[in-house]
C-alpha cells in the first residue's frame, strides 16, 4: 500500500515537473514576460531581505545634522527631513507595500472564490442575492470605497488589508461565478453528481481547477492595483501611519521638499512604477500563455 502511494506521489511530481517545463518553454518565448517575472521576483526578494539589506534603521536612525542630504555613498538615495536614510526606508517600504498587497489580494481572492462558487453552482435565489450584493459593492469606484472603509475603520496596516480585500473580493466573485456557470452543466460534472459526489467535492475538486487560469491572471493584475491603491491611501494620509515607511507615505513626506530634495519623491515613485510594470508584464505573459484568445 505504501509502495503504491509513493509511486503515485512520484508520478505526480514527475507530471508537475513536466508541466512546469512545458509552461516555461512557452512562457519564455515572450521576453517581456520573463523580464516582468524577473522584476517581480527581484522585488519580492528585496522585500523579504529588506531588514538585512537596509544599512540604517528606517525609523529609529534619525540624524538631524544630516537633514535632506544629497544621495551619496553613505546614503545612496539621500536622506529625508529627519535625516533618515531614504534607501533603507524604500527597502522597508517594499516589505510593507508587498505584504499589504499580497495579503489583500489573497484574502479577496479567497472570499471571491467562495462567493463565486456558491453563487454560480447553486444559482436561483442564492445567485440573485449574492450577485446583487456584489453589484452594490461594485458600484463604488475601488479607491473611493477603500477611502470610505478606512474612514470607518481607522488607518493601520490591518485595516488597509481589510479595506482592499473588501474592495477586490466582488471582482473575484464575478470572475469565478462566470467560469462556474460555463462549467457546471458539462458532462463530467453531471457524471460526478450521478456517481454521488458531494457538492463540496464537486465545487472544490472539479469546478475550481477550471477557474484557476483566469484567477491567476486576475490576481497578478489586482496585485498591481493593490500596490497602487495602498500607495494612494498612504499618500493622502489614510494608509500606513507614520513613522512606519511605505512607498506611499515616503512620497507624501517628499511632497513638501520637491524643490530642495527631489530624491525623496523620485526613488519611492520609481520603486512603485517598476514593481507595477513588472506585474503588468508578467500578467500579460500569463494571459498569453493561459488564455491565447486574449492575445
Amino acid at each position: 500500500m505504501e509502495y503504491v502511494e509513493i509511486t503515485k506521489e512520484a508520478e505526480k511530481k514527475g507530471q508537475f515537473a513536466e508541466q512546469m517545463r512545458a509552461f516555461w518553454k512557452v512562457f519564455s518565448i515572450r521576453k517581456t514576460a520573463v523580464f516582468g517575472l524577473a522584476i517581480v521576483c527581484f522585488v519580492i526578494l528585496i522585500a523579504i531581505l529588506a531588514p538585512l539589506l537596509a544599512p540604517f534603521d528606517p525609523v529609529e536612525d534619525v540624524d538631524y545634522g544630516n537633514r535632506i542630504a544629497n544621495p551619496s555613498a553613505t546614503h545612496l538615495f539621500g536622506t529625508d527631513e529627519f535625516g533618515r536614510d531614504i534607501f533603507s526606508r524604500v527597502l522597508m517600504g517594499a516589505q510593507v507595500s508587498i505584504a499589504i498587497s499580497v495579503s489583500a489580494v489573497t484574502i479577496s481572492a479567497a472570499i471571491g472564490i467562495v462567493i463565486g462558487l456558491i453563487s454560480g453552482y447553486y444559482g436561483r435565489w442564492v445567485d440573485n442575492v449574492l450577485m446583487r450584493i456584489v453589484d452594490g459593492l461594485m458600484s463604488f469606484p475601488p479607491i473611493l470605497f477603500a477611502i470610505a472603509l478606512m474612514a470607518a475603520l481607522g488607518n493601520n496596516m490591518g485595516n488597509i488589508i481589510v479595506a482592499l480585500a473588501v474592495v477586490y473580493a466582488p471582482l473575484f466573485a464575478r470572475l469565478v461565478r462566470g467560469t462556474v456557470l460555463s462549467v457546471k452543466n458539462k458532462e463530467y460534472v453531471e457524471a460526478i453528481q450521478v456517481m454521488g459526489g458531494s457538492h463540496i467535492r464537486i465545487l472544490f475538486k472539479h469546478i475550481l481547477p477550471n477557474c484557476l487560469s483566469p484567477l491567476l491572471i486576475q490576481m497578478t493584475t489586482y496585485f498591481a492595483y493593490a500596490i497602487l491603491a495602498e500607495a494612494s491611501l498612504s499618500f493622502i494620509g489614510l494608509g500606513v501611519p507614520q513613522p512606519e515607511p511605505s512607498w506611499g507615505n515616503i512620497l507624501y513626506d517628499g511632497r513638501q521638499y520637491m524643490l530642495e530634495a527631489p530624491w525623496i519623491t523620485v526613488f519611492p515613485g520609481v520603486a512603485i512604477a517598476v514593481t507595477v510594470l513588472g506585474l503588468n508584464l508578467l500578467g500579460d505573459g500569463l494571459r498569453d500563455y493561459l488564455d491565447p484568445r486574449m492575445k
Binding site: P141, L144, F145, A151, S232, I236, G237, T265, A273, V274
Partner: protein, 245 residues
C-alpha cells in the same frame, strides 16, 4: 436621503448637497479634460500600433502605454509639478480658476492635473484600441473593402475604427471609476477644490454626512456613466437594439 436631503456638514454646518454642487464642477472639468487627453493620446497610438503591428512603431506605442499603466497618477502629478511648475514655471502648481472667471487661467490650472490623471487612462485605452483594431483588421469584410479599392484611410478610420469602438468604449466606461478615484489624490496634490479633496478633508474631520454624500454622489455618477456606455453601444453597433423584446 430618498427625498434628496443628505444632511448637514458637522464642520461647516452647510447642506451636504450645497457642498457637492459647489465642488462638482471642478471635479467634472478635471475628469472631462483627463478623458479628452487620454482619448487624444490613446486612439492614434492604438491605431498606429495595430496598423504597424510588430514594428518599431508598435513597440514604441506599447512602451508608452505600459509606462502609462504602471506610473501612479500621484507620482506623475508630483513629477509634472517639479518639472513644469517649479523648474520651468510654465504652469501653476496648485489652485483652480472657474471656467466662467477666466477660460485661459482655467485651462492653465487644470492642464497638469488632467495630464497626470489622463495618462493612466491613455495607457489602458491604447492597449485596448490596439487589440480591438487587430481583431477587426483580420475580418473578411476589411479584405473586401480593400479589394474593392477602398483607401487605407477609409479602411482604418471609417470601417475598422468604428467597429473597434465597442470594447474601447467599454474600457473607458469601466475605467471611469479609476478616473473618479484618481481625482481624490490628484485634487489633493494640486489643491483643486473638487469632491475628491472634499472627501479627504471630511475623512480627516470625521465629517460622516459629507463622506456619505460624496460616496453616494460618486456612485450615482459611476452608474450613470455605465448607462451612457450602454446607450453608446447602440450607436456604434446598429445591430444592438434596446427596443427589441
Amino acid at each position: 436621503m430618498l427625498s434628496g436631503d443628505l444632511g448637514h456638514s458637522l464642520v461647516s454646518d452647510k447642506e451636504v448637497l450645497t457642498l457637492l454642487w459647489e465642488r462638482l464642477p471642478a471635479t467634472m472639468a478635471l475628469i472631462m479634460y483627463a478623458l479628452l487627453i487620454s482619448v487624444v493620446i490613446a486612439i492614434p497610438l492604438g491605431i498606429i500600433s495595430a496598423v504597424r503591428h510588430n514594428t518599431r512603431w508598435d513597440y514604441g506605442a506599447m512602451l508608452i502605454a505600459l509606462i502609462g499603466v504602471s506610473v501612479p497618477n500621484f507620482w506623475a502629478g508630483l513629477l509634472l509639478i517639479m518639472t513644469f511648475s517649479l523648474h520651468l514655471g510654465w504652469f501653476p502648481s496648485t489652485g483652480y480658476v472657474d471656467v466662467t472667471q477666466n477660460l485661459w487661467k482655467h485651462l492653465e490650472h487644470l492642464a497638469l492635473p488632467a495630464f497626470a490623471l489622463g495618462f493612466l487612462q491613455a495607457g489602458i485605452v491604447t492597449r485596448m484600441t490596439r487589440s480591438s483594431m487587430l481583431e477587426v483588421l483580420k475580418q473578411d469584410y476589411i479584405c473586401t473593402i480593400r479589394a474593392k479599392g477602398g483607401t487605407e484611410k477609409v479602411v482604418i478610420l471609417k470601417h475598422a475604427l468604428k467597429n473597434s469602438m465597442i470594447p474601447i468604449i467599454t474600457i473607458i466606461g469601466i475605467n471611469f471609476g479609476l478616473l473618479l478615484g484618481g481625482t481624490v489624490v490628484v485634487e489633493t496634490i494640486f489643491s483643486i477644490p473638487g469632491i475628491g479633496q472634499l472627501l479627504v478633508q471630511s475623512v480627516f474631520n470625521r465629517d460622516y454626512p459629507v463622506i456619505q454624500g460624496v460616496i453616494l454622489c460618486v456612485a450615482v455618477i459611476y452608474v450613470l456613466i455605465s448607462l451612457v456606455v450602454d446607450l453608446l453601444y447602440a450607436y456604434f453597433d446598429p445591430k444592438i437594439d434596446y427596443n427589441e423584446g
